[in-house]
Amino acid sequence: MKRAGDSLLLIFGIIAAWQVFYWLAGDIALTSPADTAAHLWNLLGTARFWGHAAETARAFGFAVVISLAGGVALGVLLGLNRTSGIVSEPILIALYSLPKVTLYPLVLLCFGLGMSAKVAFGAMHGLIPVTIFTMKAILQIKPVLWRTAHAMRLSAHQTALTIALPAVLPEVIAGARLGFSLTLLGVLIGEMFASQRGLGFMIVSAMGLGDIATIMAVAVFLSVFAIAANALLLWLDRAIPR
């Protein structure tokens, strides 16, 4: 009960701070919380908004599947062998810290302008943390579990499915949460840079028109979506017995 009260306090605090910034900065910089809400409400009624949202959702959907499935598979592969795990870790971390935006022109040259480029942007961002988390989790599986599987004469396939995967599930979900957010970020940045459709494009074109209200409305929409999804994944995380 206290936690719900605290969350409400936090939301109230954010809206209050927002209102204060609005009073300080004026109409050219921000729209007030009330105006933003109203504008968002209007947007949600337009087909144009939902057209863009659907575009982003499609790209995001594909990208997230690739990030998660690809990341887990790659992480398992690299993590099963101790040497490959130690060798890969710094390389993966270096890739993680790289501003992947830099590689966007390369992606565009490979895939052209369109959906596949956007999916590539998103997957690029999300694949690496999922791989890193999965790989480290596999490396850290207690050796006694491997020996137990061996003593029970389980096949490699059975060991992977019934022991390795359940043992690493908590870490994989933590990685998936991060991968989820980064994939969304990747798709949005891709749309902001090189697309004529999608919510990212909507934000950038609104900026060109000085339409601050739309920028904020879309940003709020995306924030709510991201936080809700993150909360769902967190709940999933807690639901697993450990």
Binding site: P143, V144, L145, A151, M152, L169
Partner: protein, 273 residues
């Protein structure tokens, strides 16, 4: 197979040695040569100083790793990999944290494709036998160390192994829990009629539980003595009050003390290494 004294031999190790290749290129002679006959149905204890290769011995006997030299026969046949009919309880907690107690115990049977009715029967029996009935739906994280080891033992028990190998299973537990768990182990041994080999660093535990205790030397581990306890089959932890218990324990320590000092650097008593 028959031993020289006519008893039925369950497992036989002949000339078994294990040499490890170190990263630096040197070789570590960890174990052997070992010649050992484990009689069917006996409770065989193994004691030895740290690092003498006790766990390596268990690994080889269980088929978890091959010997560098020598042969291992189980029920008359040479072993390749982990043979059918062998159960292992490890030193560390090997319970699966993501399954409750029931599913943990049922794990091996389900993987082996046993039908649901038989699985349920065996699991319920094992859970009852190990005193876990009230905790069947709990998760390992909610249980104490001793309970978790019971889960691991139950999980091994359901597979009805003919040879049960235990590597210091009670090492992480307090003395009182250890004594009670020892009694459970004896009960298990009697009811299943299995052959048991228990590795332990606790002399009193070996002396109390075993029919026969093997004493290993410092690395490379070899058996330097075998002591028959001649305890009655129906025994429990109160055997410690038998006068012969003291005799056996002191004989074990006599042999073991010398070997342990070697492991610690051969210093005179009281000196620090």
């Amino acid at each position: 197979m028959k031993a020289p004294d006519g008893a039925d031999v369950h497992a036989r190790l002949t000339g078994v040695t294990r040499v490890f290749d170190l990263a630096s290129g040197a070789k570590l002679h960890a174990l052997g040569p070992i010649d050992l006959d484990i009689k069917r149905g006996e409770f065989f204890g193994v004691v030895g100083p740290s690092g003498c290769g006790k766990s390596t011995l268990l690994d080889i006997l269980a088929g978890l790793s091959p010997p560098t030299a020598g042969s291992v026969l189980f029920e008359g046949k040479p072993i390749e990999g982990v043979p059918d009919g062998v159960g292992v309880v490890f030193q560390e907690d090997a319970s699966f944290s993501w399954l409750n107690v029931y599913d943990n115990v049922a794990f091996g049977l389900r993987r082996a494709g046993m039908d649901a009715a038989e699985t349920a029967r065996r699991v319920e029996y094992a859970i009852g036998f190990m005193g876990l009935r009230d905790f069947a739906m709990a998760y390992p994280a909610q249980l104490s160390g001793g309970m978790r080891q019971r889960v691991c033992i139950a999980r091994t028990l359901v597979l009805q192994p003919r040879l049960i190998l235990l590597d210091e299973p009670f090492g992480a537990l307090d003395q009182q829990t250890r004594l009670l768990m020892g009694e459970e182990l004896l009960r298990l041994w009697r009811e299943t009629g299995a052959t048991v080999m228990l590795i332990t660093h606790a002399l009193d535990e070996a002396a109390m539980l075993s029919d026969r205790v093997g004493v290993m030397s410092a690395r490379p581990g070899q058996f330097i003595d075998f002591i028959e306890t001649e305890w009655p089959r129906e025994r429990d932890s109160r055997i410690v009050s038998d006068p012969r218990f003291g005799v056996i324990t002191s004989r074990l320590w006599d042999k073991l003390r010398v070997e342990s000092l070697k492991t610690m650097g051969g210093a005179a008593p009281g000196a620090k290494s």
